[in-house]
């Protein structure tokens, strides 16, 4: 792996959304090094029964050559502490690990640039970057919309539909039929609002 562009997956949202939509390989449609901080992967997969967790584990195992799991001190300390406190939870562990990875002096060298793929965090605000012009933060939908605009995928919206269907199947199977049309309509409205916003 050695590209001028690094794609940092800095929270669990993109992994889970793409996993449940069986679209994790979309991350590889861009000519970039994919970097996932160890703690982010941990948060997304610590409970294999959680939505998308097993798919993420399988995908990472199958794409070892393309995906770097970046080790961090934050996770190392957390992991050591779990030896004495097995149920230990640290809500911002993934975010701290992401900040640590992005701030590594050798992460962006020369003309290299970084895309931060995230859903809910504001990692960029916490990062001390020497040159902010070299880093852009985008959401999963932004990422998919760009792929769609470049005709690399058919529909960004479809990914969210698949994710929503998977989520519903996982937790509320009894409501499946009633909510099919409602969910689809909601997603149409949300994506359209996003485009107009």
């Amino acid at each position: 792996m050695s590209h001028d562009l690094k794609l940092f997956v800095v929270d669990t949202g993109p992994l889970i959304t793409l996993a449940v939509a069986r679209s994790l390989d979309y991350l590889l449609y861009v000519d970039a090094d994919i970097v996932i901080p160890d703690a982010v992967l941990h948060e997304a997969t610590r409970d294999a029964a959680r939505l998308g967790a097993q798919d993420i584990i399988d995908w990472v195992k199958g794409r070892r050559a393309s995906v770097e799991i970046a080790p961090t001190k934050a996770y190392e300390i957390f992991d050591a502490a779990r030896a004495s406190i097995p149920d230990l939870r640290e809500p911002d562990l993934g975010e701290r690990a992401a900040v640590e990875v992005i701030e590594e002096p050798d992460r962006l060298r020369g003309n290299e640039r970084g895309l931060l793929l995230c859903e809910e965090t504001a990692v960029l605000k916490r990062v001390v970057v020497r040159d902010r012009e070299r880093i852009v933060e985008i959401s999963t939908l932004d990422f998919l919309k760009i792929l769609e605009a470049e005709q690399r995928i058919q529909s960004a919206e479809q990914v969210f539909e698949l994710a929503a269907q998977a989520g519903r199947l996982a937790s509320r199977a009894e409501k499946l039929r009633d909510h099919d049309d409602a969910t689809r309509a909601a997603i149409h409205r949300l994506v359209r609002r996003r485009d107009e916003g």
Binding site: L5, D11, T12, G13, I16, V20, V30, D31, A32, L51, R113, L115, C118, E119, E120, T121, A122, L124, V136, E137, I138, S139, L141, D142, I146, A149, E150, F160, A163, A164, Q165, A166, G167, R168, A170, S171, R172, H179, A182, T183, A185, A186, I187, R189, L190, V191, R193, R194, G197
Partner: protein, 70 residues
Amino acid sequence: MTETERLALRAYSRGEMTAIELRRRLGGASYGDVLRLLSDEGLPLPRAPEAGREAQLTRARAWMFPKHVA
């Protein structure tokens, strides 16, 4: 939906709460439920709040696909 749940939904939409936390506060709501509630409340999907967003996305696209963007 209670007012507390509505506040949580708004916080999620602003990017101030994780989806997992929101779903817990909504009593184990699914991701599909969250999308429907956002739409019903007229709230946008969460996204990184940043000035000059369109310029950022144009830049991101140019970085992702340098040969295809003027």
